[in-house]
Symmetry: C3
Subunit: 136 residues, 3 copies
């Protein structure tokens, strides 16, 4: 039986429930829904990078990337990115931030597929992102 | 060609459309969105386990598990659990129920990754859950 | 390393951001969230097939299918279909359309699993669908 490995970057806050920030099994890597929390500081509650969509989007992408890297993967391995926004009016700005971010990631493969939908999130959070990757 | 196998536990209501409660193909097993319906009784419309988040969450998890088991899988094989709630105020209670439930499942592998978002669901339903598993 | 291949049917509008309409890597094929846009016409903005749920659902399914076929896959290979509606009252009608559509697709395998949730979408769009397939 192939082991399922939990991916827990040192920068991450402890999950608020019995789930893993990411798991890897065989060639599949699943990143749990990430939000824009800053790197964990001992004894401090999870804190968003800032109130703006830009701050939260960039931090969220950094948090997803940290989990990919913890599993030996990169953005190039990602098949699907799910973006959850709270406000349809944020779509264009999120795309600008998203495009600039991935323009700087040095991708050598085509970008991942993506679905963006508009949902409710806990107060203060504007974006959540998860990702599915296939390595190798 | 590897067959895709429909997973239809005897306890489940007939899907209201042309979809499968779960499918397995090769080592992948996908569980469709489950809600808190009680085991199917002939001639009776689908009925939620109860009006409370606790009743519906536990029944929903049981419904997901039945599909996993129909496909020869267990919670240990699950990579990703998607939780859809209708109310942000249910997050803490859902986590308590979720943690207690998985604490009793005898997991031998790290817990699955998870994304929780807040959406609309049909009247009377407070939670929906789907899952992706990789066997072997 | 297995290449990740972008799937871009000629009929599709250019994605509004750095994502692919579909990607294929090894035996996995992920279709990005599709909406009911008509086939792309040079110099024309993306235009929904019509204002009704029926028009948009059928065009959305056609758009998903075009990406599957671009990757050498068919509906038979699809494990999971995610349906995002904007209105709970559309569930029954969407199911009728969905059932009739898949009744005509000549499936030789069980239908895919499915999750349907109700979210916000950009103005004028009533449905979004994505899909995960495993080939071979």
């Amino acid at each position: 039986m192939t082991d399922k490995i939990a991916l827990t970057p040192a920068t991450h806050t402890v999950p608020p429930a019995k789930f893993s920030h990411g798991v890897k099994k065989g060639n599949l890597l699943q990143v749990a829904g990430q939000v824009g929390f800053l790197p964990h500081e001992e004894g401090k509650a999870p804190t968003p990078a800032g109130p703006t969509l830009r701050e939260q989007t960039l931090q969220t992408l950094a948090n997803v990337k940290a989990i990919l890297e913890e599993g030996g993967a990169s953005w190039d391995d990602v098949l699907m990115i799910r973006v959850y926004l709270t406000d349809v009016d944020h779509f264009a700005e999120m795309n600008d931030i998203y495009n600039a971010y991935f323009g700087e990631q040095g991708l050598t493969q085509p970008p991942a597929a993506r679905t963006t939908v508009y949902v409710g999130l806990p107060a203060g959070l504007l974006i959540e992102i998860d990702a599915l990757a296939a390595l190798g």
